[in-house]
């Protein structure tokens, strides 16, 4: 469904993605993990076409995304920090987004209703709290029932009730056979919502397989310690790499 092929990206001198390869299949739910600054958001923004890769290509539904814009119709994106025009009202924002996709007539209003956004539709986006803005982002991502859902830290900043509502919605969409991509630092959420684990470290994929095999490889039977172990390994590998290069130079 989404193929990321040999993507490299530099921001100035900082190499964020190095010859990055990944496949995302429909019907699976992926947990995109990695320490801060490992390139998770960059890879998501590259898939969305907001960041232009230096080399490599990305295919969505078999079509290269370069120069195309219609593929974004199939993607619902919930950004890490939702930033909206401050003097636009919630209602206007929703009608504008609907206007952007005129061919879609059936809206998925589950989250709009669950978060009670209808009652607030005359509030300006600038006056909303961070959590409410997250609710708006989430409702917008699911509004057009897209095949692909990309959720960047979806539960951060939400209150416990909202988190449960959102998680239930994600599970429902997962059962419906959508492709879901989630980044998060909350391991329990990821374990609940995903079946595939992708671990990124310094712009490279270190692990990409099912969560079961991750547990098997690390010898842990719970998700969180398994990931912790994986992180330790990557750090060690980095250390050995450095030692090796040191040996080579001397």
């Amino acid at each position: 469904m989404i193929s990321v092929k040999n993507i490299s990206k530099k921001f100035g001198k900082l190499q964020v993605l190095k010859d990055f390869n990944l496949e995302f299949q429909l019907g699976n739910s992926y947990a995109l993990m990695g320490p801060n600054g490992s390139g998770k958001t960059t890879i998501i923004k590259t898939i969305l076409g907001m960041v232009m890769p230096d080399s490599g290509e990305i295919l969505v539904k078999g079509q290269p995304i370069k120069g195309s814009h219609s593929y974004r119709q199939d993607i619902g994106y919930m950004p890490q920090i939702g930033r909206y025009p401050s003097n636009m009202k919630i209602g206007q924002l929703f009608s504008m987004m609907k206007d952007m996709r005129p061919e879609i007539k059936n809206y998925d209003l589950d989250l709009v209703e669950a978060f009670e956004l209808d009652q607030m539709k005359d509030k300006a986006m600038g006056t909303l709290s961070g959590g409410t803005r997250q609710k708006v982002s989430a409702a917008l991502a699911f509004l057009f029932s897209p095949d692909i859902l990309i959720l960047d830290e979806p539960t951060a900043g939400l209150d416990p009730i909202a988190v449960e509502i959102l998680k239930a919605k994600i599970k429902k969409e997962r059962i419906a056979g959508k492709l879901i991509l989630i980044t998060s630092h909350i391991m329990s959420d990821l374990e609940e919502l995903t079946n595939q684990a992708v671990y990124i470290f310094e712009g490279e994929v270190y692990f990409n397989d099912t969560i079961e095999s991750l547990k098997e490889i690390t010898g842990e039977d719970r998700f969180s310690p398994a990931i912790a172990k994986l992180m330790q390994w990557t750090l060690k590998k980095k250390a050995t790499k450095r030692e090796m290069s040191h040996v080579e130079t001397t």
């Binding site: 969305l48 960041v51 232009m52 974004r72 119709q73 003097n87 636009m88 206007d99 952007m100």
Partner: protein, 255 residues
Amino acid sequence: MLKLLKYALYDILKSRFAMIYTVFMILVAVSIYQVSDDLSKVSLSLMNIMIMIVPLISAVFATTHFYNNLEFIELMLAQPVKRSHVFLSQLLAVILMLSLSILIGFGLPMLLWGADSSLVTLLGVGVILSAVFAGFAFLASVLTRDKAKAIGISLGLWIYFSLVYDGFVLYLIYSFADYPLEKVTLGLVMLNPVDLGRILMLMQLDISALMGYTGAFFQQFFNSSMGILVAGGTLFIWVLWPNLLAMRVFKKRDF
């Protein structure tokens, strides 16, 4: 595209800035009309104010607008719309707002107290200068990642075209006063949209005689159909290139 423009315009026309700018233009025009009854004096005074103010306001406003709307731009880029349409809608909204302010601010008093051809040229030059400097501002904005830096570049361009360039031309004319310089000055004028606008205006008034032999040469050139075509074409190029270049950069920019 039109949908995007609709939402961008909706946002910008509601802003406090659009109101203040229009009221300011009205106040300037009304006060100058009150001071003098002579239309050519009115248009000369209005021109002197406009040629300084309009590029400055356009440059600063367009830059701040781009950075204040970065969130909106990012939101649009994740939607199934073309990048060039996102850019054009923002740019056109800014140019339309700036032009409307001039047309209303200067146009209303003109309707009330009368206008001649020079005042109509004034409106046209105002709209063109707004578009040129909005283009420079967007170019500065897409090339930088920092609002302060972008405003700095826009202001720098304004200072260059409004003040520094004229100093340079004057210095050249004084240094080479012994040589025939009409054609050189004409060429130099083409390289500065602000000067080009000013000359186009001055040619409508009968004061070009004050400018000596060069003035007479200019008068002859700009009153021929060839001259108008060249001047209009050059201004058109000045509107196009910063805007198109900014769009090219925007299409490849990371957000």
